[in-house]
């Protein structure tokens, strides 16, 4: 009998971390919530270009963040890059208002390739900006995977939107988002709705935690370690 949690505790570099089925990591000792690749405003960006993406996606993203904030009550939320999909649009204002209503929390951003908003936009949101790599011992926080890893450190990054393939008897297989922890690098699944996924190469010794969103209202999300 398996018991499913919407979160799972694991240890990394001597630190206890909570992997949440909402595609987030919570670091209890430092009270930090880590989120990667939100791609906020992607729907609006598409719509502005005449591509009709349903707008409800925006609401959904913020609802999910709100859920996590209530669940963990973090002091800091660090976004590991690609927070906003493209140039400024209305979604940013909505997001700024969302942050302003939560003055007790420090929201911080490690800059990623999609983060091309102006200084003014970021300061309007009250975001603290970090260039990558951003060191929070024992972790190196970044958007892209880092090549140089300092002794005793471990790199947590985003960018890739990782997923893995599961296989079973009867030629069954499934493609699912995941947290993927290698020897020196760990990658977070993309938090944002309306984002794609890329397959992770997995080798012996890697730890893979799949994340599956609930398919029905009666189900809970799944986060589960899988092996070969």
């Amino acid at each position: 009998m398996n018991i499913y949690y919407t979160l799972l505790k694991t240890e990394l570099q001597g630190e206890q971390l909570i992997l949440d089925a909402e595609k987030a990591i919570y670091w209890p000792r430092r009270r930090v919530l880590l989120l990667a690749d939100l791609h906020l405003g992607k729907a609006e960006h598409f719509r502005r270009e005449g591509l009709p993406v349903p707008m409800a996606i925006r609401t959904k993203n913020l609802e999910r963040i709100d859920g996590l904030l209530k669940k963990y009550i973090p002091e800091r939320v660090i976004f590991l890059g690609d927070l906003f999909h493209s140039l400024h649009n209305k979604s940013w204002t909505v997001f700024c208002n969302f942050l302003k209503k939560r003055p007790a929390i420090s929201f911080e951003l490690v800059i990623g390739n999609h983060d091309i908003l102006s200084e003014a936009d970021y300061s309007a949101a009250g975001l603290t900006l970090h260039d990558e790599p951003y060191l929070q011992a024992p972790f190196i926080l970044s958007h892209h995977p880092q090549e140089e890893i300092l002794e005793g450190y471990y790199n947590l990054y985003g960018h890739i939107h990782p997923c893995v393939y599961l296989q079973g008897l009867g030629k069954q297989y499934m493609r699912v988002a995941c947290f993927h922890f290698g020897k020196y690098h760990g990658v977070l699944p993309a938090f944002g709705e309306f984002t794609g996924m890329a397959k992770m190469e997995t080798v012996e010794g890697d730890r893979v935690f799949i994340v599956v969103a609930p398919q029905l209202a009666t189900e809970t999300g799944i986060v589960k370690q899988v092996s070969f």
Partner: protein
């Protein structure tokens, strides 16, 4: 004016006589019908003089009505649009037209407008329209997307749609219906004429083409009586025992194809896929070095320039053989071609006859086609196809209806040029066969879709493709207009990259996923050349020639063609003969040892039996069912069966199928007896059950890819600045999921399901098949292991999935896929 036949025909008959030609009866009949003001359809095969059946009366009408005194008058404005689905035919039509114009002493201009036409020529055509414009469906839409198109079309008398049988079953056919509806309202006296080879639903083809004209009855179908004699030879394997049970490549019989090449002046070798074409070409050269320089390859992903070269070389008799795909099904006749080879099942009678007809062009000559089976069971197909050809059982081509993707694209097209007025445009659209059932609600949804982006979005102002000004819907800005024009060619095509030499020179296109497997410095084979990848630059794959003999061969994604209903029916009869131990021809005789083994391990069913096989292997529990209905119908029945069984208990299936049957594979025992007791093949609640199951089988998602591209959801980028649009990259899958979650009644989503039902699963055939099964005795066999019938299905890795188990339970049983 009263129609006087002999007087009207006189100039044309004189010209024919001068050339020692005699008009065919169908040509004269068409002339008369045309000159009495009718619309209609000419049913004649390629190369039968069909062009002159319409070109001649068009010119005669001008002589007698518009300008009897001064035939030399110039600049009469655009009189005729001649639509052809293939650019290659345009030149031949133009030459034929020019000859007729000269002979009848007119001063008309005839011009081609297609994707290949230079911008300067297009501008010229726009300023001073030719009297006859030969064009493709896409280019016609582009004309409608250009400013002041009404002026351009104002003198138009006639639209001719050539090769209508090729267009009717496609979305390009819907494009034509829409373009015609607009042209008819701009030019109320417009005549519409189609030219079509024989198909199973001739009358419907006319109805679709003529739209409102069909109802007033002033039209005619004119059939040519010309028939070609076809001889079919099967290339036989020496020993059936050593011939493969599965596979679709057919290389085993390559040594027997070589002598065929040497026996004829020129041979066309038809393969079913582009990858198969590449492999056969390479293997032929390996098997016989003397063929180097004497054979070539032709398929749709090879660049236009290379294909032109091959076609030219075919005309001038420089090639012994060309390995090709359906890319050479149509088009200009190549006189030197004497022999046709078909590798693997052609899947349809009409296609097979069309290919056979590419040899033996002289009137009365015999067409010769050699069928090369790629696996044992295809010998039964060989026998079936011979009977079907003999009985002239041709397939119907069903038109698309309610293609909202095409309609959305068309509305934005109208908005891009002169704008459209909603009330009259809706009325116009409802005159088409495809959209006569569009409701007001659906129309409003579409208008919302192209303006604000959907029904629930009024609050947001960002999304504006098309806006409403002074009674007209018009495109919002230049950027949107450019994008619309660029995406209009995307009715066909996948995300492909251009393969080019470092020093320039385009070789063709491969799909992005294939190139992603190859690293710089590695070699791959494409267009019959060994190529080394140097680098990828934007959408270009830069290569140089390589000396390496081996390399990966690209394949292109695309559906597998299902066996047509006509051919499946013949196939079932042949299998039934086999079950009774009758072997009336050499193909069936040859396969006897195999069917004996099938009968030994399981059963060869007769026409009153439905064979099912159930056995266990290391992979799980296999349930095989053999309706012999073609893969489209099998997809439907298998999905239905899997879904119904999954309602009995939580269970997961993967499903594979071919044209003979299908397999449900599960990791647990399948409750077959319970399923059969519960009438698993019943037609009761058929649509509902299929809809519910399709939901979970991702078919609709795949169907949605094309819909997303056509309706402009997925934008592939501007030709010169791919990088800039990176933030706009998305996939049809993302849209599909977003719509399914947040906007389930989205019409394009609904369309995906409807297309799955009517085109992929062929609902009409599916119902007929289930009805037939209901009258059959079910024979459930339990063979100890795989049988000759089951083997090709079991080894197929391309599978559908369906599950009623909880996700969590399924995940528990799964493991990480290893890195290969």
């Amino acid at each position: 004016m009263k129609f006087n036949k002999s007087k009207s025909f006189k100039p044309a008959l004189a010209w024919f006589k001068q050339n020692e030609w005699k008009p065919f009866p169908f040509q004269k009949k068409t002339w008369e019908a045309y000159l009495t003001g009718k619309s209609g359809l000419v049913n004649a095969p390629t190369g039968s003089g069909k062009t002159y059946s319409l070109m001649v009366p068009i010119l005669l009408e001008f002589l007698q009505q518009t300008s009897p005194k001064n035939p030399k008058v110039k600049n009469n404005g655009l009189q005729v649009i001649w639509i052809t689905p293939i650019r290659a035919l345009a030149k031949e039509i133009k030459n034929a037209g020019s000859r007729a114009i000269d002979a009848l002493g007119l001063n008309w201009e005839i011009a081609i407008r297609s994707g290949d036409t230079k911008t300067s020529d297009r501008t010229k055509q726009k300023k001073k329209p030719p009297e006859i414009l030969i064009t493709t469906p896409e280019s016609l839409h582009l004309l409608i997307a250009s400013a002041e198109y009404s002026k351009f079309f104002k003198n138009l008398k006639t639209v001719v749609i050539d090769e209508w049988h090729e267009l009717i079953g496609t979305k390009r056919g819907v494009q034509i219906e829409l373009a015609l509806s607009r042209l008819r309202s701009k030019c109320p006296a417009l005549k519409t004429w189609g030219i079509s080879a024989t198909i199973g639903n001739m009358e419907q083809a006319v109805e679709v083409l003529l739209g409102p004209e069909y109802k007033n009855g002033d039209w005619e179908i004119i059939r040519s009586k010309l028939k070609k004699k076809i001889v079919i030879e099967t290339v036989m394997p020496d020993e059936i025992e050593r011939f493969p049970w599965s596979g679709h490549l057919g290389i085993t019989l390559l040594p027997k194809v070589l002598p065929l090449i040497y026996q004829s002046k020129t041979t066309l070798i038809f393969t079913n896929t582009r990858a198969q074409c590449e492999i056969w070409y390479q293997r032929l050269l390996e098997a016989d070095g003397d063929l180097a320089g004497q054979i070539a390859m032709h398929h749709g992903s090879i660049s236009r320039e290379l294909r032109n070269w091959v076609e030219e070389a075919l005309h001038t008799e420089q090639l012994k053989a060309v390995v090709c795909t359906s890319s050479l099904d149509l088009g200009v006749d190549f006189r030197p071609v004497e022999t046709i080879v078909q590798i693997g099942s052609p899947k349809g009678v009409a296609r097979f006859m069309q290919r056979a007809g590419r040899s033996g062009h002289q009137p009365g000559a015999t067409s010769r086609i050699h069928f090369v089976p790629t696996n044992s069971l295809e010998l039964i197909e060989a026998s079936a196809i011979r009977t079907a050809v003999k009985n002239q059982k041709l397939e119907a081509r069903y038109p698309y209806i309610r293609s909202f993707d095409v309609l959305a694209q068309y509305l934005v097209t109208l908005a891009t040029s002169e704008g459209f007025e909603p009330v009259s445009t809706l009325a116009e659209i409802r005159t088409t066969y495809a959209f006569n059932s569009v409701s007001d609600e659906e129309w409003n949804w579409l208008i919302n879709f192209i303006t604000t982006g959907g029904p629930s979005m009024e609050a947001y102002e960002e999304m504006r493709r098309v806006g409403f000004h002074t009674g007209l819907y018009r495109i919002m800005n230049k950027k949107m207009a450019t994008r619309q024009r660029l995406s209009m060619g995307t009715i066909v095509g996948n995300s492909s990259m251009n393969v080019k030499y470092l020093r320039g020179g385009k070789i063709g296109q491969v799909e992005e996923w294939f190139i992603s497997q190859i690293k710089p410095g590695e070699t791959f084979w494409f267009a019959g050349r060994s190529l080394e990848l140097i680098q990828i630059r934007g959408m270009d794959v830069i290569v140089k020639k390589s000396k390496k003999k081996r390399g990966k061969i690209p394949s292109w994604q695309g559906g597998r063609l299902p066996l047509s209903s006509q051919l499946s029916e013949e196939l079932r009869q042949k299998v039934s003969l086999l079950s009774q131990g009758e072997y009336p021809d050499k193909e069936l005789k040859k396969i006897k040892p195999l069917t004996d083994l099938q009968a030994h391990r399981s059963l060869v069913p007769n026409e009153n039996q439905l064979l099912m096989e159930y056995f266990k292997s290391r992979e799980g529990f296999h349930l095989l069912v053999y309706p012999f209905e073609g893969r489209a119908v099998h997809q439907g029945i298998s999905t239905l069966m899997a879904w119904r069984i999954s309602q009995l208990q939580p269970i997961s299936f993967t499903i594979a199928m071919n044209d003979y049957g299908f397999e449900l594979l599960s990791d647990t025992e399948i409750p077959i007896d319970t399923a059969l007791r519960n009438n698993v093949f019943s037609t009761f609640h058929l649509s509902e059950d299929i809809q519910s199951s399709v939901n979970s089988v991702e078919m609709a998602m795949r169907q949605f890819r094309e819909i997303a591209a056509i309706s402009g959801l997925v934008f592939k980028g501007y030709p010169t600045k791919e990088k800039r649009v990176k933030h706009l990259q998305s996939s049809a899958e993302l849209f599909f999921k977003a719509f399914a979650d947040y906007e389930p009644d989205n019409l394009l989503l609904v369309q995906a399901y409807e297309e799955v039902m009517s085109f992929q699963l062929e609902e009409v055939r599916l119902r007929a098949a289930l009805k037939r099964i209901a009258g059959q005795e079910i024979k459930l066999m339990r063979p100890p292991k795989a049988t000759p019938f089951s083997f090709p299905i079991i080894v197929d890795r391309l599978r559908e999935r369906l599950s009623s188990e909880k996700l969590q339970d399924r995940i528990d049983k799964m493991r990480l896929q290893l890195v290969r």
